[in-house]
Amino acid sequence: MKKKSNPAELAAIAKQMRREVIEMITEAKSGHPGGSLSATEILVTLFMDVLRHDPANPKWKDRDRFILSKGHCCPILYAVMAECGYCPKDQLNTLRKLGSIYQGHPDVRFLPALEASTGSLGEGLSLGLGMALAAKLDKSPARAYVVLGDGEIQEGQVWESAMFGAMHHVDNIVAIVDHNKIQLDGFVADIMAVEPLAEKWRSFGWHVMDIDGHDIPTLQKAFAEAAETKGKPTCIIAETIKGKGVSFMENNPKFHGMAPTKDECALALKELA
């Protein structure tokens, strides 16, 4: 796929993706807007600029793999994949409806261009490690990118996989923690604190960058640094705002897993005009 690297152009796409996320979830009457909006720049930068992939040939052997471990935030994944041409844009509003390719959580049976069916938290990094190991065995340049939630890393399996990645020097994987500080029941710090996040990953043997997850040039720089990091896996802690871009959703735990009303949707789209 022809890469788009101009930050202004990517920012414009990000804004468009946010509008599509709001529309999809409003139409579905359920879903998870907050974490889709916090991860928008991460996914846009990856799919438009960083990943080596070919939407016309989704099973290309040497493609980079992307896994949305926090599968509930699939609206942003679907929007970005549709933008790339993997799947039809005009069906985005069938999200969560019977027979839709856009299932409530990513489901490879319905959308084979996905790399993994996710939704049960804590599993994506292990899957990504398996794909990264396979690439190494095949002497393929393919890399794996896994986006995790900051609440998700409360799952013990994440730390099993963190140990494995460092122990086996899996340097062709990048974990991106969408650090939006909110999970379903409230603020991460109140539910089960995960700080100090960067120190945790560092102590598990990962190369760690703690960056602004909404700043596209910073994200581009971080992914470039990850690609150059040899001998150990990279974790990017992306500092983000839950619900980013819609004033009444920002930092509001209510919009972790609640669809906006029609009125709220109209208001949100106005802010994202």
Binding site: R65, R109, A116, S126, L129, G130, A134, E160, M163
Partner: protein
């Protein structure tokens, strides 16, 4: 007592050893085969594969959930991964990952659980898997295998690698008598009739197959003609073999080293109910956990001997006559 059956049942290796040996053969034959273990490779016998193919062997440490999902990732990228641990650990601790990362997307992952049943002996119930068949069968789309001896395990490991899709193999720690000749053919989903019989059918799996053969000898001496069938495939079930046994013998005993309320027996009973009525009796673990002891002591105490299978067959035959 001279054996009526053709089976000498000479001592053979444990199915875990046969599994390890077959893995090495696979490793030589197919570069896509990779093996993952969780700090038990000396006990699961995957260590030899690791020694011969170090670049294709991944030690995961004591972290079964991660091991299973890494295996699923490797499978999604075209490898044929065998993830292995004690059955109690790979199945129970990896169950969620087997469900969401292997069964649900239908990836080509092979899970192998050794140390199944109570015949592991002294280590006791925390290490004994008596629910693995039940859990494996509850994974939609999984194939579930439970080989009875060295030949069965070897051939079914090769069949598992050829088959595309998620699959579970149950292996044991105890040495098993040799049942099959080296030329025996195995087909996933096709049960093998070992002894012909007309009064009652003894259906068994794993270590209990040899006991069922011995039970058929005991019954023959009493004038009861017992058919013996090895169900090496627990899922998908050979429905034809079950219906035929129900119709032709009218009485079925199912013997398995597993909880009696959720294993092969209840699955057979379901097919019997759907096809042809028959009297049924069940040999298994009854709503409890076992204990430490030698394998032989445990098999005696918990009723997994040929004498127990024969007694159940007598009960079934008597009920049939009522």
């Amino acid at each position: 007592m001279p054996a009526k059956t053709k089976y000498e049942l000479k001592p053979g290796p444990a199915t875990r050893e046969s599994f390890g040996k077959a893995l090495v053969e696979l490793g030589t034959a197919n570069p896509a085969v990779v093996v993952l273990d969780a700090d038990l490779s000396k006990s699961t016998y995957t260590a030899e594969f690791g020694k011969q193919f170090p670049e294709r062997f991944f030690e995961c440490g004591i972290a079964e959930a991660n091991m299973v999902a890494i295996g699923a990732g490797l499978a999604a990228s075209g490898k044929i991964p065998f993830v292995s641990s004690f059955s109690a650990f790979v199945m129970n601790k990896g169950f969620e990952q087997l469900r969401v990362t292997a069964a649900f997307p239908n990836v080509n992952l092979k899970a192998v659980g050794t140390h199944s049943g109570i015949s592991i002996g002294e280590d006791g119930p925390s290490q004994m898997s008596i629910e693995d068949l039940s859990l494996a069968c509850s994974l939609a789309g999984f194939v579930v295998l439970s080989p009875a001896d060295d030949v069965a395990m070897t051939k079914l490991v090769h069949a598992a690698a050829k088959y595309f899709g998620p699959l579970f193999i149950r292996a044991g720690r105890a040495k098993c008598p040799v049942i099959y000749g080296a030329d025996q053919k195995f087909e996933i989903g096709k049960a093998i009739e070992l002894v012909e019989g007309t009064d009652v059918t003894l259906i068994a799996t794993g270590l209990l197959v040899a006991e069922a053969i011995r039970a058929a000898d005991i019954l023959e001496a009493e004038g009861i003609s017992a058919r013996v069938i090895d169900f090496h495939t627990i899922k998908p079930l050979d429905r034809d073999a079950i219906a035929k046994a129900a119709k032709e013998t009218g009485a079925i005993v199912v013997a398995e080293e597993h909880l009696v309320d959720s294993g092969l027996g209840v699955r057979i009973a379901q097919v019997v109910a759907e096809t042809h009525p028959a009297i049924m009796e069940f040999i298994g673990i009854h709503n409890t956990y076992a204990e430490s002891g030698s394998p032989d002591e445990l098999l005696d105490k918990y009723g997994f001997r040929a004498s127990n299978v024969a007694a159940a067959a007598r009960r079934a035959v008597a009920r049939k006559k009522k």
